[in-house]
Amino acid sequence: MAYILIKEDKMENRDIQVQGKKEIEAQGELTQEGPFFVPNVDIFEDNDNLVLLADMPGVSKDNVDIRIEDGQLRIQGKVSKETPGDYVLSEYSIGDYYSNFALSIIIDQSSIQASMKNGVLRIVLPKSDKSKPRKITIKSN
């Protein structure tokens, strides 16, 4: 545990390195112009939930679409591509976000919660009772 604490402390104090946005191919034919990006995500689980955090700057809470189909979690975020004036310097491109995840555990679909804050999407997927870890006791004769 001590090791983890030290590691996280270091992580926050070092300088952030530039990562370019990850451009992807859209599913199917392109219906709109422009690039698509895969958001950077954190995925973790505890005993009750599977939580996904995705960085989607420029996406407001009304422009995000979350779907679960055939054991796949799909997230899509639309951004406004309007820019005032003419470009002087362009270091990043603007485009919608798209990502797809295979869910390896059974999710209780009725109580999924999602929120969007400052361009970060947070989805809490509660595990169904079937996929919660169960402690197995060994009987001895």
């Binding site: 973790f44 505890d46 420029g58 362009s90």
Partner: protein, 152 residues
């Protein structure tokens, strides 16, 4: 084994070739846009955060993607023709019992200087932060603004 390496067919299913064309076309457009105006290259400065700078007759606009940050964690200061953005992105701990599957979101400190092509009115610089995008509006100083000259 042998026939496969011998024939060496190109991969057909590498994805949508039109996407590559589209990407190329966009790069070409950007290139043309830059050369047309004689502006510097589009390579990045390699410093976080990546920024886009635009201008119109009255203002420069600087935009940067800083998802998950709070306004109080971002510090901006402006001089005559330079702007500095610095701050710290903190990703809160998610409790002791969590097990990570993926961890791509980065935390850390950053500090960046941006030189503007002209001088600005530092008193009127305004910054806003929405949906994880920082937008700074920098009004050009009076002598920098384009003036229409009437022909008599």
């Amino acid at each position: 084994m042998f026939p496969k390496t011998f024939i060496d067919f190109p991969e057909w299913n590498v994805g949508n070739p039109f996407l590559d064309f589209e990407r190329m076309r966009r790069d070409m457009n950007r290139l043309a846009e830059r050369f047309g105006k004689g502006l510097p290259s589009f390579s990045t400065a390699g410093v976080f955060p990546l920024t886009n700078v635009t201008e119109d007759g009255n203002n420069y606009y600087i935009r940067a993607e800083l998802p998950g940050m709070k306004t109080e964690d971002i510090e901006i200061s402006a001089t005559n023709s330079n702007l500095s953005i610095s701050g710290q992105r903190i990703i809160p701990r998610e409790g002791d019992n969590v097990r990570y599957h993926r961890r791509e979101r980065e935390a850390g400190k950053f500090s960046r200087m941006i030189s503007l092509p002209g001088s600005i009115d530092t008193d009127k610089v305004e910054a806003s932060f929405m949906d994880g995008i920082l937008t700074i509006v920098l009004p050009k100083s009076e002598p920098m603004k384009p003036k229409q000259i009437e022909v008599k």
